[in-house]
Symmetry: C2
Subunit: 352 residues, 2 copies
């Protein structure tokens, strides 16, 4: 896709590796006084703030496994790679502060392609006010690999683990589900149409929200701040990367609880509902197993319900139960069926 956009193709070898890094990273700004030293030494140096802990998370994105450059523009890929990591920081109820970004790219990628990728990373870093403090740029024998590590901080008492949910806590979700997965289905379909008839002009307007959620997801930076302003300390939290059912089961397992999830409460965008009908897919299945939504799922003490009631960003979708009761979906027909983890991406698993 990027190759069509620009006819310039400067091989990395022409610029030289040292200059390449200066070139790619020269627009990065430092936003935080916790960053004492960013790019340019053996390691970055960070200054902790009083009584704050650090959180650290890392993700590896591999071409052909996590992304397909035939419909994912490189700039969007750079942006998304940052979001995936920031989402994990926010899921600890922490504020994201720093990133390291490592890239391995084959000689298929000219300097202009890496510029596009870094433009997306820069847009994400500036938009979310995080400092790119280091990384590694290297060649690969095939394809593109992006490895990002994100750091954030928060006072110890704010940091929220997967393990703190208790029986009767309410299960709360930000935003809506299923759109990113459906966006991928739409893009896959258009790719096949394009392969058959390259002159076809698809009308993607009815899928605009779905495609944006797939190609330019946003991490919920606002949520830790919102919860703080509402004076709500979540008891457990996780981000939705693999699909709602899988993430709920993580909370239940770590917190040693069960849960009841109410099908009718699961928030869906109208485009999700319309596209599920068109594709003859069950919207609940998509919400439960779709993945890549990067919304946050958390539990709160039932006494905190009045503080979040009516907030348009937050939906109560169920409640935690005793572990012995198991984890269930309560359907619209009021039947109770066991929740099963069936993530969107069975090939990848983060350790944190």
């Amino acid at each position: 896709m990027f190759e069509e956009k620009d006819s310039a193709r400067t091989p990395v070898s022409e610029l030289g590796e040292f200059k390449l890094i200066d070139h790619l990273t020269k627009h990065f700004k430092i936003h935080h006084d916790t960053t004492v030293k960013g790019i340019g030494d053996d390691a970055a140096v960070l200054q902790p703030k009083d009584k704050q802990q650090w959180v650290v998370t890392t993700d590896l994105l591999v071409e052909g496994v996590h992304f397909d450059l035939s419909y994912m523009p490189l700039k969007h890929l750079g942006y998304k790679a940052v979001m995936v990591n920031l989402s994990d920081v926010y899921a600890m109820n922490a504020e994201a502060k720093q990133l390291t970004v490592s890239i391995a790219a084959s000689n298929r990628f000219p300097v202009e392609a890496l510029e596009e990728l870094y433009a997306g990373i820069l847009a994400a870093a500036n938009g979310y006010k995080v400092d790119v403090v280091g990384g590694d740029t290297t060649s690969s024998t095939s394809g593109l690999v992006i490895s990002i590590t994100a750091l954030g901080c928060a006072p110890a008492e704010k940091i929220t683990y997967r393990s703190g949910a208790k029986e009767n806590d309410l299960l709360v979700l930000t935003g809506d589900l299923g759109a990113a997965y459906l966006g991928l289905q739409v893009l896959e379909r258009e790719k096949q149409v394009f392969q058959v008839n390259p002159k076809a002009q698809p009308d993607l307007e009815p899928y605009s929200y779905l495609i944006e959620r797939q190609l330019k997801p946003e991490a919920r930076k606002d949520v830790p701040k919102l919860l703080d302003s509402l004076k709500v300390q979540p008891t457990a939290m996780i981000d939705i990367s693999d699909g709602l059912s899988s993430e709920i089961l993580h909370l239940c397992k770590h917190s040693q609880t069960g849960c009841n999830l109410y099908e009718e409460k699961i928030p869906l965008d109208p485009q999700v509902m319309a596209t599920c009908e068109e594709f003859e897919l069950d919207s609940t299945t998509i919400a439960l197993s779709g993945g890549e939504d990067y919304e946050l799922l958390f539990t709160i003490d039932a006494d905190d319900f009045p503080k979040i009631k009516g907030n348009p960003n937050l939906t109560v979708i169920g409640h935690m139960t005793a572990a012995s009761e198991g984890s269930h979906l309560i359907t619209r027909a009021n039947t109770k069926i066991p929740l099963i983890a069936r993530g969107w991406d069975g090939m990848s698993q983060e350790e944190n």
Copy 2:
């Protein structure tokens, strides 16, 4: 190599990704009270110590670019991948504390191969007392990629940058140089001999030190402690990953100094000298450009010389000059030739 060692070949798909991670990481121990939460949540959580700063560094190792599995056993590769990162932490004069480890591997690698790789990572983590606090394990379409991020800490006044050297400071090196590069040459030669005659039994004893430096390098964890006990605060420091000349030039550039390096002072192991003769290589060129030695190079105030004099771990190899004087090698014949950066690995460049 690992495929010959063990006939068992369990595909990753058979174990399942969730169980794979539990399986691979179950032996990791937590050594530090700064690690509040390791593997198992959206992010690891770290507790800073009073008045300590954190350092963060990351490296990406790609099969076919940074390593060749035909002579690098996977266990050694895991060990070395950790050393490369720890070396950067020690080069800040800091103590290494935590690691994240991300792996992408194609289906060419069965569970037993990943076990070998993790066994090397575990040996390094235990030997150097660092906590593996997170990571990511994913499939790749071809080959093996290892991305490691290392964290460490030290009081702010101990942390040593590349930029602090002053005119007349002494240039000091730990250990000796050139062995890792020559080890690689020996292994490359044996690989070619093996391809011609698989029954050849090479005698590698004369190269044992060289091969060990290539296949099982050790990072200089001892040096920050040694300097502390000698009450020496280095003014600038860097680790030798790309070759002495390139690293000296980094120090000069960041510190805005020149330097004089004395050829006769460069420490070489007897095996390095003998093998250079055999291969008809100039030992000074190998020391200057060889790379992968993971020794530390630092500068100290000349007044501190009595504190390090005679220490068998440390060699004064030159001194810093005014930037206007440039950076030179003073040869045994007492001629002065400009230092040129010519690293061993022109294909990779770290940002920190």
